[in-house]
């Protein structure tokens, strides 16, 4: 072991070299050519950090402190980034009542605000499809309706990331920037994503979103309660997706869409708790999953009354 420790790995060599160059540059430009030298140093350290899953707890707190400080310096907003781990004996599941949903789109709006989504390109994790009675797949429905709802002879079907138990997007990722957490949530490490969009192509449900431009959020509307794997600020050219509001659900709260739903069409809970609402739905209602034949094993069920 001691021999191994002494060896200099390529990564650590690069890190030290880079840090040395960085400090030299900062020292050279202490006059303020590069703006705030503190921000520059922090960004430099951020650039050479480890993959989130390989970080120790200390490294995690370090990077979170850096990100919080960076946001304070650059955007002048104090944020609180959280890194709560998955709880024991918890597997999140979701059910959507097709009969109850009336297409008011309150969930979409709440999701955009909760997850700090780009307002410019109207990025949304949830899509509500207006479908004629008798249709089964959202491909046949109208995803961009805008008229008074509910419309006669139609029903509404919400689609978002289904947090598959056997996620094809994870298999497609070449940099392992996306993975399934122990509580069943598929997350993205935004700093390791290279934006190749392979996962977007692999997902049969259109569950993933790509940042075509730098996300624009009005300063007043920024949700300051963030999670490292959830709604912290993202940059242009990487993937993001619904994380069942990881910053909320890991604290015991229901997701933003569930809380916003005016008709109670959305059910969220722990699949491993036999008394939970979601288990009641699975036991007592006619449930089905979208494209179940693909074997992706989504944890998102549709049901009707």
């Amino acid at each position: 072991m001691s021999d191994k420790k002494k060896q200099i790995t390529r990564r650590s060599f690069l890190k030290t070299a880079a840090a040395a160059t960085g400090t030299a540059t900062i020292a050279g430009c202490s006059g303020g050519l590069l703006g705030s030298s503190e921000a520059f140093a922090l960004e430099f350290q951020e650039y050479f950090k480890e993959h989130y899953r390989l970080m120790t707890d200390e490294e995690r707190t370090d990077t979170i402190e850096r990100l919080e400080r960076l946001s304070e310096i650059k955007k002048n907003t104090t944020i609180d980034i959280d890194s709560t781990k998955p709880q024991e004996n918890v597997l999140y599941g979701y059910a959507f009542n097709v009969t109850r949903c009336e297409g008011f789109m309150e969930c979409v709006d709440a999701c955009v605000k909760e997850n700090n989504l780009d307002r410019e390109s109207k990025n949304q994790y949830i899509r509500i499809f207006e479908m004629e009675n008798g249709e089964m797949l959202p491909d046949q429905g109208d995803g961009k309706f805008f008229h008074q709802v509910p419309r006669k002879g139609h029903f509404y079907m919400g689609v978002q990331c289904f947090q598959c138990e056997n996620p094809p997007c994870v298999k497609a990722c070449p940099t392992k920037a996306t993975w399934k957490e122990k509580d069943g949530i598929v997350v993205v490490d935004y700093d390791w994503c290279i934006g190749c969009r392979y996962c977007m192509a692999a997902c049969p449900y259109w569950g993933r979103r790509f940042n075509w431009n730098q996300p624009q959020i009005p300063k007043k509307e920024v949700n300051k309660k963030q999670h490292y794997l959830g709604n912290r600020s993202r940059v242009r050219g990487m993937m993001e997706k619904c994380t069942f509001c990881i910053q909320r659900s890991r604290k015991g709260k229901v997701t933003a869409c569930v809380e916003a739903c005016p008709t109670g069409a959305r059910v969220f809970g722990n699949l491993l708790d036999p008394d939970s609402e979601i288990r009641f739905v699975l036991k007592n209602k006619k449930v089905y999953r979208l494209k179940e034949d693909l074997g992706t094993d989504p944890k998102f069920w549709y049901f009707n009354d």
């Binding site: 008011f104 789109m105 955009v112 709802v149 138990e165 259109w206 790509f210 015991g252 008394d275 609402e277």
Partner: protein, 223 residues
Amino acid sequence: MYLLRWKVFLKERTVNRIGVVNLKNLKKTKYFFGIVIITFFAFTAFSSEGVVSKIKNANKKTDKSTGIHKSISLPKNVVKVKEDYQGGVFYTKSRKSEITRYKCSSCHKTQKKVMKNAANITHGDIQVVHGGKNKLECNTCHSKNDRNFLVTAKGTKVDFDHVYNLCGQCHFRQKKDWIGGAHGKRITYWAGERAVKNCTACHNPHSPLFKKRWPKTYSVPLK
């Protein structure tokens, strides 16, 4: 007959393929393949770790006094529901604390005092659109004798906080779903003690159907 034909067919096939007729060997290979197929199916059946099997195996009750459940306290103004759900006791939001003019008996007293236009001022905004053709009247649900209570068709008094017992007379299916968790929703937390919204939190009891309106936002086509 068919069996014989089949045997002949197999024989011919073996002849064609291997060039040697040996029924005994053929039988052995058949058994071998059979065993392989059976073991394959058995293996896939036992090794499948899908969500469904995970759910089916999870039957242990969660201890609400440990982990995340411990840190979550009940919201304010909740009352214990008179019926149990599959996990035992649960709570619902109190209604009485939300009614601005409760207690009703502060106006509706036994002694007669006539005020001009009083009903119109206080309850004029109420429009009853409930019950379809057999439109409901005030006293279908509100008690005539004790104004602080609601009343069922059988004449049992129902507290405003336990309104689910009144609605459940007709909407018994919804009540069953509400108790179980398929109708209505929880207040803020999925963890901790179960606290759900009351019927009247979402439905206006006088016209319970959601009104037609514009959606809050719209979607643009995916790129």
